[in-house]
């Protein structure tokens, strides 16, 4: 990937007083996040844990720029994305964030190659110009010989590896993984996690949401959420560069 790992310098993600309130009806107001402050340094590996209803999904949506906070500020790579209009948020998602989902979310009618290239298209790039780069990514995730296959012809683990290659194609700041091993057996899950470790070692910032303590154990920091707030933070190991 990258020749030299990036240094863990300035915080690439900076959340300050983030609140998210859903007004379902006049009496039914859900306060999903109640003032979250969080700094994530470049190149770090952070796991977010918490029981359901703790606000971790909302947290993930806001981190992924899929949703805007009701209050607070969110600095991503020096840009305040908390108040950005929809189109700019789309651009931020496409350029700076790589998504890995629990259920892979590949597009059924496209081949492996085309799936990896989807984020390129929305940046106005010509996929053909990035052919070599795509092939390189596919080889990196061990699918160099499956470029013409459709998602339905791949196993779960293989699909998730395509999703990892897709998340990297625009060379984002941060990889956002939502239960990436949730649908995989322990062996393939371990392979996927190994791949994320590798990415982190090569300098990518990784934020991972999980239920699984073993998965979280791979991260440097584990953030436990409860009732819309950060409950506690466990530092597994210092930054190891």
């Amino acid at each position: 990937m990258q020749a030299t790992p990036k240094t863990n310098g300035a915080p690439v993600i900076h959340l300050e007083g983030i609140e998210k309130t859903y007004v379902l009806s006049a009496e039914n107001i859900v306060r999903a996040l109640r003032g979250v402050d969080l700094k994530i340094n470049e190149g770090s590996y952070v796991a977010i844990m918490g029981p359901s209803g703790s606000g971790k999904s909302t947290m993930l949506n806001i981190l992924g720029c899929l949703d805007r906070p009701t209050a607070g500020s969110y600095q991503l790579g020096g840009h305040n994305v908390a108040r950005m209009p929809d189109d700019e948020l789309s651009e931020v998602r496409g350029k700076r964030i790589g998504f890995i989902f629990q259920s892979y979310n590949l597009i059924a009618q496209l081949t492996v190659m085309e799936n990896i290239q989807v984020p390129l298209i929305y940046q106005g790039e010509d996929p053909r110009a990035h052919h070599d780069h795509t092939v390189q990514l596919a080889k990196m995730v061990g699918l160099g010989d499956r470029l013409d296959h459709r998602p339905s012809q791949l196993s779960g683990g293989q699909q998730q590896r395509v999703a990892i290659a897709r998340s990297l194609v625009n060379d984002p700041f941060m990889i956002l993984a939502d239960e990436p091993t949730g649908n995989l057996d322990s062996k393939t899950g371990a392979e996927v996690l190994e791949m994320l470790d590798q990415l982190n070692r090569s300098g990518k910032t990784i934020v991972l949401v999980t239920h699984d303590d073993k998965v979280a154990a791979r991260a440097q920091r584990v953030i436990h959420m409860k009732d819309g707030k950060i409950d506690r933070e466990v530092v597994n190991r210092p930054h190891n560069n």
């Binding site: 998504f99 979310n105 059924a108």
Partner: protein, 429 residues
């Protein structure tokens, strides 16, 4: 360049998504195919029908006003008349002269006597129309002289027993001989054949003594007016099995040729006013080809509007079909939309994607519809012996409408796809 490849990519993606459900896409297209096909085919058939009518009217001559004798309605089926059993009605020789003298802008007046008779040569006896007329018939009605000559003013002056035959009649009467200089027999009198002619205007000419039903139109025998008067007289007897009738008609038809088209419209009411004084029985009618032409054009417009509306409704139904399917597709692909949004697709990218799919459906259907729509009139022409005219504008119109319908009915589903909340869409099962 970059935009271009992006667009090509979007279209390819659209086709790919549509091919995922081949039957569904084909059925959806079918609505548009039928719509476009019916627009083109209906307009082609309508255009052809009115073309035939208009051509026929044009041949009557747009400078002419035709005045015909008509059996007065109240006496049409009674035997009573001023002269016992002889029914007397119609235009008179004086009428012809009066028209010539009175109406301004008249170039020529051509009287005609049209009598149904049998013409005979040797063993061949054929029904025909004996038309007693003047030499100017050639110019006013329009006749091509194929061989010999038409009747002349000399024939008229001396009441010569000469005749010109139409080509079809001549070939039936004289299958083996040269008709020129031979004589044919009509009502006991011999007429020398002096010419073979062909009417430019093959429109059915109704004779006063009966309707021509399914007979060839070119069975005319032209004789001089004066000959007609002296040989046939004014009273024409018709004998049918068990009964006979007699009619006294001086002129069956008078064609008034005006100097120009503008004079036609003013002359028509003048002719009517003039004739009304002498014909209280209303035993004549005027036909103004120019007016008929205008009416035919107006009818054609209405016809086109009606056919067009029917076709437009079928296109509309096709469009609604497309919208229905696209809405279903959007629901079905909610998750894909969520994924694309997460991977950086803007709302307008999603709109473009779905709009392109709709337009591919409708334009694809439109293209197939154009091909079938152009083919159908040819088949109709071949089978029904109708003239059909596929106009270029109808092809463009149908194709354009199909494209427009694709966009119109695609916008709503595409917008509803783009406005999905990415989070909700990602969570959609």
């Amino acid at each position: 360049m970059r935009l271009g490849t992006h667009f090509v990519g979007t279209v390819r993606l659209g086709i790919k998504s549509l091919l995922l459900h081949k039957l569904r896409s084909a059925l959806t297209m079918l609505g548009i195919i039928f719509g476009v096909c019916s627009v083109i085919a209906m307009l082609a058939i309508g255009e052809g029908a009115s073309y035939e009518a208009q051509e026929a009217i044009k041949k009557l001559g747009s400078n002419n006003i035709i005045v015909r004798s008509v059996k007065p309605p109240e006496e049409a089926n009674s035997s009573g008349s001023s002269r016992g059993f002889v029914l007397e009605y119609g235009l008179t020789y004086d009428d012809g002269a009066r028209l010539q003298r009175t109406i301004p802008g008249v170039r020529a007046v051509l009287p005609m006597r049209i009598i149904r008779e049998n013409v005979r040569f040797d063993q061949n006896e054929l029904p025909c129309q004996v038309i007693g007329t003047l030499p100017s018939y050639v110019e006013i009605v329009g006749v091509d002289i194929l061989r010999g000559r038409f009747i002349t003013s000399v024939d008229e002056m001396y009441q010569n027993n000469v005749c010109a035959l139409t080509a079809g009649l001549a070939s039936r009467l004289f299958p083996f001989q040269d008709p020129l200089t031979m004589s044919v027999k009509v009502a006991g009198v011999y007429y020398q054949v002096v010419g073979i002619v062909q009417e430019r205007n093959m429109v059915e000419q109704r004779s006063q003594t009966g309707q021509i039903d399914g007979e060839p139109l070119d069975n005319n025998v032209y004789i001089p007016m004066s000959t007609s008067r002296s040989r046939f007289g004014e009273t024409i007897f018709r004998r049918t099995a068990g009964s006979f009738s007699a009619e006294r008609v001086e002129l069956h038809q008078v064609t008034v040729q005006m100097q120009d088209t503008d004079a036609v419209e003013t002359a028509d009411p003048q002719i009517k006013t003039l004739l009304r004084r002498f014909h209280p029985k209303n035993d004549y009618e005027t036909i103004v080809p120019l007016e008929l032409l205008r009416q035919a054009e107006a009818t054609k417009r209405i016809f086109n509007i009606v056919l067009g509306s029917i076709a437009a409704i079928s296109l509309l139904v096709g469009g609604i079909g497309i919208m229905n399917i696209m809405l279903a597709t959007v629901t079905e692909r909610t998750r894909e939309i969520g994924v694309r949004r997460a991977l950086g697709a803007k709302k307008k990218d999603i709109i473009t994607q779905f709009l392109v799919e709709t337009v591919v459906l409708s334009v694809g259907g439109g293209l197939i519809g154009v091909v079938i729509g152009v083919a159908v009139p040819f088949i109709v022409s071949a089978l029904a012996e109708m003239i059909t005219i596929v106009t270029v504008w109808s092809v463009f119109l149908a194709f354009g409408i199909s494209g427009a319908i694709g966009i119109m009915f695609g916008i709503y589903p595409a917008r509803s796809a783009a406005n999905l909340d990415p989070i909700e869409a990602l969570r959609h099962e």
